[in-house]
């Protein structure tokens, strides 16, 4: 899967395992592998560089190649090898044959509180708020060396595992926040590896079979989502159930609407899809709002994310049937989802009946979209589409519960939002947003203006036809690798790293549009766009966004230093993986 002589390496995507906080990255600058444990609530926190791993023999550092898959990570030198595997709790296991392993932790004093020798053969290293790890040898020797700066703080910790006389060593490390002792018993290494493989294999059952030609890409996508599923209980944290992180570093948190993106991809396990879809109910506020992000130490309530559940729900219904929608499930989820939907309708109303607006750019997910160029609050077309589908979702659940009148009311409301959208915002060419205080229409060429295509055949045919014609035309939004988030003809288009939706080809945008076109009966257009985008993902991996051209449209260079960063052009993300899984199955699959 990853490594030397593999399609991808670990510079952009860490090796890991579902529910394990350990990750291994290849450092971009020195190309060594780093073992870290990542547990943070700080947006854009970088935590990939705790322990640098280097195979050693007789004190000499050895060069190595590596290979990593769902079972293990292996470092091969000319003199022996080192392997790592992860369990689903808190443990990383390491074993070596013929060589030892040195782990160097160069930490400034304020990041590392120190090392504690527990005098039972194990040592604990504390990284303050970020957590602790406990290290112990199971076979062979463990040595450690601690260096201090002039002020007495730890400046470096080196742990080295060396083979015994038989040439082998084995070690374990645990990560945790509070306190831990060594286990009384350690399972065999091979058993943990097998367990990991089994876990991944079972996880893959959430998804439909891969589309021919994209088998490997599908496997990678599933691996990304599997490794990003986090949230063990019992560690004094905010998780109430497992959620899918966006990144394993940088945006190492579970974003609210991304749980729905993941749910709609899991058509082969509607139970798991439903679990993810309803996961934010655990955190719902009195106002009905779902928080924006969840991580170990924080639940961010300052801005909600767009109401995506209705869209995901309708996708699951249409493709997997409604067998999963039992009265018991509806009983638990109906009121919370009604509350969430009413939150959008009431808090985001413009004052005019059935008119909606975004109050904050970050609510929409199109953070720097040109729909907002004239400011906020802004009546953007996608909010109507998403809230309409939310109403439908409530109506469907009401129906299951036998609440006939409520079902009718929700369905009527859903239809009214579509009617208002078509009547007040469609100008013959596109949906045009309006800034509420001034009532001015916002001239823009953002792809989000076509996002209502997710309504499929709920839109009038002439609108569907127009959207399809616009989006399939070469050179407007369509490029060799998919649709750009801003038209190539827009004066604002830019592929620079500092922008998000100003021009790059973005995974969620392409998912929305291709799924919408297919729903609307525009299979040919949907497939063409999907094929281009999926091929790019297949070639380049699960980045969130790609520049479609080598320069800006006007020939000027754009800013993209292409070094590790929190932006969308560096790190793989589960968000892209989930979008790929949906698009490849639903749109490309014949």
């Amino acid at each position: 899967m990853f490594g030397h002589n593999q399609p991808f390496d670990l510079q952009r995507m860490p090796w890991g395992r579902k529910m394990s906080m350990f990750i291994v990255y290849e450092d971009f600058y020195n190309h060594d592998l780093y073992l870290s444990h990542v547990r943070t609530g700080i947006l854009q926190s970088e935590r990939k560089n705790l322990f640098r791993m280097q195979p050693v023999t007789g004190g000499e550092i050895l060069e190595y190649t590596y290979f990593a898959d769902e079972k293990h990570l292996r470092m091969d030198t000319g003199k022996g090898s080192v392997e790592l595997c992860l369990d689903e709790l808190d443990q990383v296991r390491i074993r070596g044959r013929g060589v030892g392993l040195r782990l160097t932790c160069p930490m400034p004093g304020d990041k590392c509180e120190g090392l504690f020798d527990k005098r039972d053969g194990s040592i604990e290293i504390s990284f303050g708020i970020a957590g602790k790890s406990l290290w112990l040898p199971l076979q062979g020797e463990m040595d450690r060396k601690i260096s201090y700066d002039n002020e007495g703080s730890v400046s470096e910790i080196v742990i080295e595992f060396d083979p015994d006389d038989g040439g082998a060593f084995e070690a374990a490390a645990h990560e945790y926040i509070l306190n831990r002792k060594r286990d009384a018993y350690y399972r065999p290494f091979d058993e943990i590896m097998q367990d990991s493989a089994e876990s991944f294999k079972n996880f893959k059952n959430c998804y439909m079979p891969p589309v021919p030609g994209y088998e490997d890409t599908t496997n990678y996508a599933q691996y990304v989502v599997w490794t990003h599923m986090q949230g063990r209980d019992g560690q004094n944290g905010a998780f109430k159930q497992p959620l899918v992180y966006m990144h394993r570093q940088w945006f190492a948190m579970a974003f609210s609407w991304q749980q729905s993106f993941n749910a709609m991809a899991m058509l082969n396990d509607t139970g798991e899809a439903w679990r993810l879809l309803t996961s934010l109910i655990d955190y719902q506020l009195d106002s009905g709002m779902f928080p924006g992000q969840i991580s170990t130490f924080d639940v961010k309530t300052s801005v909600p994310q767009a109401a995506m559940q209705g869209f995901a729900f309708s996708h699951i219904l249409e493709n997997a049937g409604d067998g999963f929608l039992t009265p018991e499930r509806c009983e638990k989820a109906y009121e919370p989802f009604c509350k969430w939907t009413r939150f959008w309708i009431e808090y985001h109303g413009t004052g005019e009946p059935d008119h909606l607006q975004y109050l904050n750019l970050y609510e929409s997910g199109w953070d720097d979209g040109t729909v907002f160029i004239n400011g906020i609050p802004c009546q953007a077309p996608d909010v109507y589409a998403l809230v309409s589908l939310q109403c439908e979702m409530c109506g469907k659940m009401a129906g299951v519960l036998g609440k006939t009148e409520e079902a009718r009311a929700w369905n009527d409301r859903a239809k009214r939002f579509v009617d208002v959208l078509v009547k007040d915002y469609w100008d013959g060419e596109t949906f045009v947003p309006v800034v509420t205080p001034t009532k001015e229409k916002v001239a823009n060429r953002s792809l989000v203006s076509y996002l209502p295509i997710i309504l499929g055949k709920r839109l009038p045919e002439h609108i569907v036809d127009k959207i399809a014609r616009t989006l399939i035309a070469e050179g407007e939004y369509l490029t060799d690798i998919g649709l750009t988030a801003e038209s190539l003809k827009s004066p604002h288009v830019s592929f620079s790293r500092v922008f998000y939706v100003m021009g790059k080809v973005l995974s969620p945008a392409n998912m929305f549009i291709t799924v919408g076109l297919k729903r609307a009966g525009k299979d040919k257009e949907a497939r063409e766009i999907a094929r281009r985008w999926c091929d790019k993902i297949k070639k380049s991996g699960f980045l969130l966004g790609f520049a479609p051209l080598p320069t800006e449209v006007n020939g000027e260079p754009y800013i993209d230093p292409n070094v590790p960063n929190a932006g969308d052009t560096w790190s793989w993300t589960s968000w892209s993986a989930a979008c790929f899984l949906t698009v490849s199955h639903y749109v490309l699959n014949t």
């Binding site: 039972d120 708020i129 309530t301 808090y347």
Partner: protein
């Protein structure tokens, strides 16, 4: 009392109110983009100076200035615990805090300009009803609403900069010359109230709340102004769990160290905060809330706020010192948590298995540069054994089932302290495994004075002579620790020495203010509590 007490150092201690995140404070100097003057800010719950995630924000969120006909006016500030006033020649602007999450403003003859420099990811929003909402990323949200008069403001968005133009919001009077406004702070969503309570009522309630708060402390024999200031500081440092945040770490109202920069609960400081109260129920409540921060396995974090707990190292069990004074008022759950705390130290911090607990990390002492840990070997320290001795003795008196067990533990801790850590002249720290002496801050060796008459007479004599000879209370850093020496001297009936230490601390406060160290930029509840404790204990 509140109405006669004036807060003079608004650059060192903000105008605020118990449980409120709002604060109004004064910046004396201009700093680039940020003018000098009065700022509105919110408790950030972050461990960063200024407490904000957004790079560039060095000061409070909103700069305030009086205006007339669009022009800013010079002003003087006057503040009591219940009201802050900007006095101008053309009229005054008054501020009071209603419910903790609503700041009220009124003026006659002048308006108020609220200037908010905005940074990336900070968003202004014009609401349907004409009010202004400001979203400050991780810090929180603010809603500005004109109750009487008008609010005029700009909300221009600069798309490519991912930010808005800096906001200027002018709150102007109506034709009768009156302006009234409200500022709400909230985490998620907020709507203006349909009806706002009378300003004077809000101010009176704030004043009454402060008066009630002062009654929890012993009436001063000495300087009334210092007493008022100290109780004001502790009053505004009380913060609450975030009411509209679904995951919040605080489980009860807790006293932060200060409101701007060290806006967190430092568990090392909590005993003094509790000991300063005369009201025994207040003591017990604070101690109970501290113990509620305990992890399931009995560990107290070194510090915490609503967002981030520090479990990287433990808080020393110093809470026992305060708990011992309040044993009669502590409820069952608090007592059982104290037991859990003792067990935690015995289980997780005795690597030698010799019944002597140790510090695994230097900062577990509560001192920033407390101890020299080398090679990962834990350190046995006299202060830790003191706390454990007091804790286990408390448990021997309160744990009906295991009193004898805890008595034995207490005796054992005292024995280890005097046999292992007393070198004949002073208390020392010793490394685990090797028992070699370890460099550490001297003060660790003075803490055993808190054992009072439990210490053997000759040790107590030598210890207190040394403390007195060195004037160990004359500190430059973590100054409030002087209070422990006062307590210790009193425990040993050495009143003169207690007074010497106490008077020094009072002199320090008079010269430097209620700070933890010389050069600190904000007053702290710890220093204020130390003052209140010392003056009450010594009757000065």
């Amino acid at each position: 009392m509140a109405e006669s007490f004036e807060i003079r150092q608004l650059n060192m201690i903000p105008f605020s109110r118990r449980l409120s995140r709002f604060m109004l404070y004064e910046e004396k100097k201009e700093d680039g983009l940020f003018p000098a003057g009065l700022y509105l800010h919110l408790t950030a719950d972050m461990y960063k100076p200024g407490g904000v995630f957004v790079p560039g924000r060095k000061r409070g969120i909103i700069h305030l200035s009086p205006i007339r006909d669009g022009k800013e006016l010079p002003y003087k500030l006057k503040a009591t615990p219940s009201m802050l006033t900007m006095e101008t020649e053309k009229g005054n602007i008054e501020f009071t805090i209603d419910r903790p999450e609503i700041l009220r403003i009124r003026s006659c003859g002048v308006g108020l300009r609220a200037f908010s420099p905005l940074f990336r990811m900070e968003v202004p929003l014009r609401m349907n009803d004409g009010s202004l909402e400001l979203f400050y990323s991780n810090l929180g949200n603010v809603l500005i609403r004109a109750i009487e008069g008008a609010a005029d403001f700009n909300t221009v968005w600069r798309l490519k900069d991912w930010r808005a133009d800096d906001v200027i919001c002018d709150l102007t009077p109506s034709q009768n010359g009156i302006m009234e406004a409200a500022i709400h702070e909230f985490a998620a969503t907020e709507a203006p109230l349909e009806k706002y309570r009378p300003f004077d009522l809000c101010e009176k309630e704030a004043a009454d709340d402060f008066s009630l708060w002062q009654k929890k402390y012993k009436e001063p024999c000495g300087d009334r102004e210092l007493f008022d200031m100290a109780t004001y500081i502790t009053w505004i440092c009380m913060q609450r769990p975030r009411v509209d945040a679904p995951y919040r770490l605080l489980r009860g109202n807790m006293m932060y160290n200060n409101r701007f920069g060290i806006d967190y609960v430092n568990l090392f400081e909590q005993p003094l905060l509790a000991m300063a109260f005369e009201d025994r129920n207040a003591k017990a409540e604070l101690i109970g809330n501290v113990l509620d921060l305990m992890s399931p396995d009995g560990m107290l974090p070194a510090f915490t706020n609503n967002k981030e707990p520090q479990y990287g190292y433990a808080a020393p069990p110093v809470i026992a010192i305060a708990a011992k004074e309040t044993a009669g008022e502590l409820q069952g759950p608090a007592l059982s948590k104290l037991k859990k705390l003792a067990f935690w130290w015995l289980e997780w911090r005795d690597p030698d298995h010799d019944g002597t607990v140790s510090y695994a990390y230097a900062k577990e002492t509560g001192f920033d540069a407390g101890l020299t840990i080398r090679d990962g070997l834990a350190v046995k320290s006299p202060d830790l054994l003191t706390y454990m001795c007091v804790l286990s003795e408390l448990l021997s008196e309160t744990d009906a089932d295991s009193g004898a067990y805890w008595k034995e533990i207490s005796r054992g801790m005292l024995g280890k302290l005097t046999d292992t850590l007393w070198d004949g002249e002073e208390f020392v720290c010793r490394r685990s495994k090797t028992y070699e002496k370890v460099m550490g801050t001297d003060f660790l060796g003075y803490i055993p004075v808190l054992l009072g008459s439990k210490l053997p007479g000759d040790i107590a004599r030598k210890l207190t002579d040394a403390v007195s000879a060195k004037k160990a209370w004359e500190r430059k850093d973590q100054v409030p620790l002087a209070a422990y020496l006062v307590k210790g001297f009193l425990e040993l009936s050495q009143k003169e020495r207690a007074e010497a230490a106490g008077k020094w601390f009072i002199g320090f406060v008079k010269e430097h203010g209620f700070v933890n160290k010389i050069g600190a930029v904000m007053y702290s509840s710890w220093s204020a509590s130390a003052y209140l404790y010392i003056t009450a204990a010594l009757g000065i």
